[in-house]
């Protein structure tokens, strides 16, 4: 074992905490959030995002439903506009084509 391994072994060796360490940590947590640690424990007291209340949940659900309805309505309206536009395109081309064809028929008659 060379000197480096010896140094690492001594640096990473398990050491027991000094007497009273656990008590000092508990007191520090109590000072940071009085009462919370004793009620729900240290993990719960540090929760970052609170779960919304029932009223807030209802509002969120209503907002989500409104957004879904708006998106659905928008898609439906766009689909309807597309179908109407398609019919108009076909109608316009059929009228234009019909007139050209009609003219073509007349010219053909004259040429014969």
């Amino acid at each position: 074992m060379d000197w480096l391994e010896q140094e690492l072994k001594s640096a990473l060796a398990r050491k027991d905490p000094p007497p009273g360490f656990a008590e000092r940590v508990g007191e520090a947590i109590d000072r940071a959030s009085p009462g919370a640690a004793s009620k729900a424990g240290p993990i719960a007291s540090r929760r970052v995002i609170a779960w919304p209340s029932r009223v807030a949940q209802r509002w969120l659900a209503a907002a989500a439903a409104a957004v879904i309805l708006m998106i659905g309505g928008g898609v439906g309206y766009r689909w309807h506009r597309g179908i109407v536009a398609k019919r108009q395109v076909m109608q316009a081309f059929l009228i234009a084509g019909g007139q050209l064809n009609h003219l073509h028929a007349h010219l053909k008659e004259v040429s014969q």
């Binding site: 081309f93 059929l94 084509g97 019909g98 007139q99 003219l103 028929a105 007349h106």
Partner: protein, 178 residues
């Protein structure tokens, strides 16, 4: 609304407004007509309609192919219950806008016997076709068409057989003789 988006919308709206290549001004006829077809499609709405065309349908597939490159299509078609609902001044009001050098009249038909007229004009920029105008009248019908953009006239004519007019086959003589 962001200024860039507002500007884009304004540009799009003005492009749609000016895609039509001549004015129709035929509201007077609309009031008299028993049937009216009024189609004004340009820009995004035209492209939206094109996306809904079904490529498996033969006619829709032809239109879908023709519509590529077209900026707008505008049709006014009026049908009347009685003769004399439209006058020569209505026709002249549209025709007077279709002048050279911008517009070239490529074919015209006038039948005094049947009271029908039909004219086809092409809008040309150099050798490039940029628009089509069709004016067609019958005693009880008046039709004006403007397609802004290049159009395949042969393909367009092939659609005609479905509009109550028999399709004309180039290799077969028409049954009607004058």
């Amino acid at each position: 609304m962001k200024p860039a988006r507002a500007l884009a919308l304004a540009v799009g709206a003005s492009a749609a407004l000016f895609a039509q290549q001549f004015k129709f001004d035929l509201d007077r006829l609309a009031a008299k007509a028993s049937n009216t077809v009024d189609v004004s499609l340009s820009g995004p709405l035209l492209q939206l309609g094109a996306r809904f065309l079904d490529s498996s349908d033969p006619d829709e597939a032809k239109v879908k192919k023709m519509i590529a490159g077209i900026e707008g299509i505008y049709v006014r078609h009026f049908e009347f219950k009685q003769d004399g609902a439209w006058t020569k001044s209505d026709l002249d009001g549209v025709r007077s806008q279709l002048k050279a050098p911008e517009w070239q009249r490529i074919v015209g038909w006038n039948s005094a016997e049947e009271g029908e007229t039909a004219e086809v004009f092409l809008r040309l920029e150099g050798s490039k076709m940029t628009g089509l105008a069709i004016l067609a009248t019958e005693p009880k019908a008046f039709t004006v068409v403007n397609i802004a953009g290049p159009v395949d006239l042969d393909a367009l004519s092939q659609l005609g057989g479905h509009f109550g007019v028999p399709k004309v086959q180039p290799d077969k003589p028409s049954g009607k003789k004058k």
